[in-house]
Amino acid sequence: MTDPQLVALAQQGDLPAFEELVKKYQREIYGLAYRLVLDAEEAKDLAQQAFLQAFVHIRGFRQQAQFRTWLFRIAINQCYNYLKSKKKFGDPVDCEEFEVVGEGSPEEDLVAQEEHRRLYAALDHLPAKQRAVITLKLEQGLSYDEISAVLGGTAGAARVNYCQALKTLKKYLQNEDEHEVAVRSYPKMVARVSRR
């Protein structure tokens, strides 16, 4: 069944039809919430809350936009509310929560985990809106018009946010690289000095 058919059934109070929609979009909504709040447990709660809100207000959905976009908007609003209420902006990322299960050797897994950590630490420096734009653009593959429909504002503003977010990410990742090089070169320098 297509989305509009499932939505029409859900609007008549058909719970299984709505659960079908939930199964279809739960991964995307969870991923979006996770990117925004950077906390697995909170992301789960927020995704559930978003689906609950969608079910409660489904009769107000007029099918003028895509159901997926409408759902994204609800989820992002939930995340914004959470971030505002908990004042989570700028909190450090708990790197222990990430468990990157790779298919390669343990060394490759370790490298991937390290990259993951660096990326999420850099993402944490972004404002919530830019994080949302990055996720919608790169993970969900939305166009700037669709992003503006989800987040409000214009397509031009979404593009500017995206460009700014990428530049900020690049800056933080580069800085960390430089920092890493400095830290790694330190023992060598110490060895050289001691030899003298």
Partner: protein, 230 residues
């Protein structure tokens, strides 16, 4: 960095996916051919995009989704979809305000069609009377008279409801009925200000004596004495 590079690099992050106006796409393309700095910048940005795309949010285990769906099912079963919003609220916001505007316009038009009934109540002329009184009574004497009135008025009478500070003294009988100026022309209980304004100092004292006499008789009590506080 040249100013041209700075201009190009503003749009560079959006260049790889081609979601740019054709003017900028062509301009960036031609600029990149001859500018190694901007090519390097673009390579850095593409590296960031690759890093984000290859590091999606961690995929939870299947047990997580079972738990997620079970919890959500319970929550959904307990909730009921809200009714669809009425057509009135589906109207554009400027149309929702239209009825209020119509009522306002009708009210104003009705007021103009009936010129004998003023739309707004006339402003009371108390302010003018107060000014006249201030001119007649200098401040030190006013203070004395006020003290004298306060001595005359014991505390229980102050509990009576106080009228608005209109600069007038209202005398009421013990039954609580207000005495109109027509009841006793000697005391002139209604609009005291105008009466006092036309009196000399001696006449004022006589008048206050009459008031005291009325209070002693018990025929009436003083309801308020805001005359000199104005």
């Amino acid at each position: 960095m040249k100013w041209r590079c700075a201009l190009i690099q503003r749009w560079l992050p959006a260049y790889p996916d081609g979601d740019l106006p054709s003017f900028w796409r062509e301009r960036i393309k031609s600029h990149l051919k001859g500018c190694p700095d901007c090519r390097e910048e673009l390579a850095g940005l593409e590296e960031v995009v690759r890093a984000v795309k290859t590091a999606p949010a961690p995929e939870p285990e299947p047990a997580f989704w079972d738990n997620f769906n079970r919890e959500l099912h319970l929550k959904l079963a307990q909730s009921v979809p809200a009714p669809a919003p009425s057509r009135f609220f589906r109207m554009p916001y400027y149309l929702v305000g239209a009825p209020a505007l119509a009522v306002l316009l009708l009210w104003v038009a009705f007021g103009y069609l009936k010129p004998d009934q003023p739309v707004l109540a006339p402003v009371p002329q108390v302010a003018k009377q107060e000014k006249a009184l201030e001119q007649m009574a200098p401040p030190p004497q006013v203070a004395k008279q006020e003290k004298a009135l306060e001595k005359m008025a014991p505390t229980p009478q102050a509990a009576a409801p106080v009228p608005e500070a209109t600069g007038s003294v209202v005398l009421v009988t013990k039954n609580g009925q207000e005495l109109s100026p027509d009841d006793d022309p000697d005391t002139l209980l209604g609009d005291l200000d105008t009466t006092l304004a036309g009196m000399s100092e001696k006449e004022k004292e006589d008048f206050l004596k009459q008031v005291r006499q009325h209070e002693k008789d018990g025929s009436c009590i003083r309801k308020s004495s805001t005359i000199f506080s104005a």
